[in-house]
C-alpha cells in the first residue's frame, strides 16, 4: 500500500497484516505516519495505490454508507479522547447508542453504566468532560468506543501525557477488553516498554516502511540498528538527531556577515 500527501510520500510500500483476536502494536519514531496509518485503516483518508482490507472488505471499493456500516464495527480511541464537550460523561457514552439504535431509555442506561463500570468511572457518569483528568477522559472515551460492542478497537497513542497509575490502568484495560470481549486491538504508541508488556505482535515503522515485525521478545532480540536505536532509546542512529541542515560552521560564519 502506498500513500502520499501533497506529493510527499508518507508510506512507500507498506505491507502489514493484523491478526484477529490479538493486540497488535504499531511503533515508530514521531512523524513516521502512525496516526495517518490509523486514518487509512478507518477509511478517513484513502490510499494512493494498493489496497487496505478490513474484516475482508476492501475500503477503496466501499460506498459511504457501507463504510459507515463498517465503522460501526470499529471503535477508536483518539489521542486526546475527543469527548463531545457539550454532553455529560453519560451522554458521551450513550451517544453512539442514541444515534444508531432505538433502544428504550432503560436499556441504554444499563448499557452505559456497565461500560462505565468496566472502565471504573460509573461514579463520574454525570460530570462534564472538562471536570475530568486526562486519564479519566481517555477511559470515558474507551467506554464510548466499546459501547457498540465493536470487533476492532483502535488506540491512537493511548499513553501520551498520562501519569504511571493512569498508564497502568489503560494498559490493563487494553489487555482485558481484548481478551474478555474477543476484540482485535491495534495500538499505536511509542512507549516501548509499556506496549511490549501487552502486545502479541509488534510492527516497527520507519521511513514509510515496516522495518521490523515480530513478538515483543523477538523485537528485543533484533539486532538491526534501527530497532536497537528505537527500543534502546538512543539519541542518534539511523534516525538522526539533527534535522537536515546546511553546514553548521558555514551557517554560523554567514550569520556574522549578515547585517
Amino acid at each position: 500500500m502506498k500513500y502520499a500527501v501533497g506529493g510527499r510520500p508518507v508510506f512507500s510500500g507498506l505491507d502489514m497484516e493484523i491478526l484477529r483476536g490479538k493486540v497488535t502494536a504499531v511503533m515508530g519514531p514521531s512523524g513516521t505516519g502512525k496516526t495517518t496509518l490509523l486514518r487509512l485503516i478507518t477509511g478517513q483518508v484513502s490510499a494512493s495505490s494498493g489496497s487496505i482490507k478490513v474484516a475482508g472488505q476492501d475500503l477503496a471499493k466501499l460506498r459511504r454508507a457501507q463504510l459507515y456500516e463498517l465503522r460501526q464495527r470499529m471503535g477508536m480511541l483518539f489521542q486526546n479522547g475527543a469527548l463531545l464537550t457539550d454532553l455529560s460523561v453519560f451522554e458521551n457514552v450513550a451517544f453512539p447508542l442514541r444515534e444508531h439504535t432505538n433502544l428504550p431509555e432503560r436499556l441504554i442506561r444499563q448499557l452505559v453504566l456497565t461500560k462505565l463500570q468496566a472502565v471504573g468511572l460509573r461514579g463520574a457518569a454525570f460530570l462534564s468532560p472538562n471536570e475530568l483528568s486526562g486519564g479519566m477522559v481517555r477511559r470515558v472515551a474507551l467506554a464510548r468506543a466499546i459501547v457498540m460492542d465493536p470487533e476492532i478497537l483502535i488506540y491512537d497513542e493511548p499513553f501520551v501525557g498520562l501519569d504511571p497509575i493512569s498508564m497502568g490502568v489503560i494498559l490493563r484495560l487494553i489487555r482485558r477488553l481484548n481478551d474478555v470481549l474477543g476484540l482485535t486491538s491495534i495500538v499505536v504508541s511509542h512507549d516501548v516498554k509499556e506496549i511490549s508488556s501487552v502486545a502479541d505482535a509488534v510492527f516497527l515503522l520507519s521511513g514509510g516502511k515496516v522495518v521490523a515485525r515480530g513478538t515483543p521478545s523477538e523485537m528485543r532480540a533484533n539486532s538491526s540498528e534501527t530497532v536497537r536505536q528505537f527500543v534502546g532509546g538512543l539519541p542518534d542512529g539511523p534516525v538522526h538527531f539533527h534535522y537536515p541542515a546546511a553546514d553548521y560552521f558555514g551557517e554560523l560564519l554567514a550569520a556574522d556577515e549578515a547585517p
Partner: protein
Amino acid sequence: MKLFKELGANSVEAVEGLGAIVRFLLRLVVYTPRALLRFDLIIQQIYNSGALSLVIIMLSGLFVGMVLGLQGYQLLERFGSEASLGTAAAIGLVKELGPVVTALLFAGRAGTALAAELGLMRATDQLSAMEMMAVDPIRRVVVPRFLGGVLTMPLLAAIFSLIGIYGAQLVGVQLMGVDAGSFWSQMQAGVSPSDVTEGIVKSCIFGVACSLIAVYEGYYATATAEGVGRATTRTVVTSAVVILFLDYLLTAMFL
C-alpha cells in the same frame, strides 16, 4: 503583468470559494428533511443562537428606534409633517434597519459562536470522533445549527422592529410631543403588507447567508488556535459584506 496574474489567481480563488460554499449549502439542504425529524436538536440551537441573542437585539432595537424617532422628528418638523413620524420610523425599521442590523448583530453574536464552536470541535477531533462512530457530523452537528440560525433570524428581526417602533414612539410621542393618535393611525395607514413582506423575505435570506457562512467557516477551519481565530474573524467580515450586498440587491428587486 504580475499584477494581472495575481488578480487572475485571486478571481479564480474567489469563484472556487463561492462554488465550494454553494455545494456545502446544497449538502445542508439535502440533509434538512431528515434533520427536521429530530427537532429537539434544532430547538437547542434556536435557544443558543436565538434566545441568547435576545438581550443584545432588544437593546439595540430600542436605541436604533429612539435615534430614528429623534432624527425623524427633527427632519419632519421642518416640513410640518411630524405626524408622519410613525410611518417613517415603521417603514425604516421593518423594511431596512430591522433585517440589516439584526443580521449584523447576529453575525457578531451567534455567527462567531457557531464558527468558534465548530472550529474547536474540529481542532479537538470531536468531528473525526463522530465520523469514527459512523455519525455524519454534517447531519448531526452542522445542519441543526444551520437550521437553528435560519429559523431564528426572522424572529429576531421581528422583535428588533417591534422594540424599535416602541423606541421611536417613546422619543417621538412621549418626549417630543407628537400626537399619539396620529403617530399610530398614520403608521397603520402608511405601512402596507408588502413592506412587511419585504422585511420578512430579507431577514429570511440574511438568516440563510449568516448561518451558512458561520457553519462553513467553522466546519472548514484549520485545526489550530490561529485557524479558529481566523474562522471567527472571517465569519463576521464576510457576513457583514454579504448582508449589505444582498440588502442592496433585494431592495432593488422589491422596487
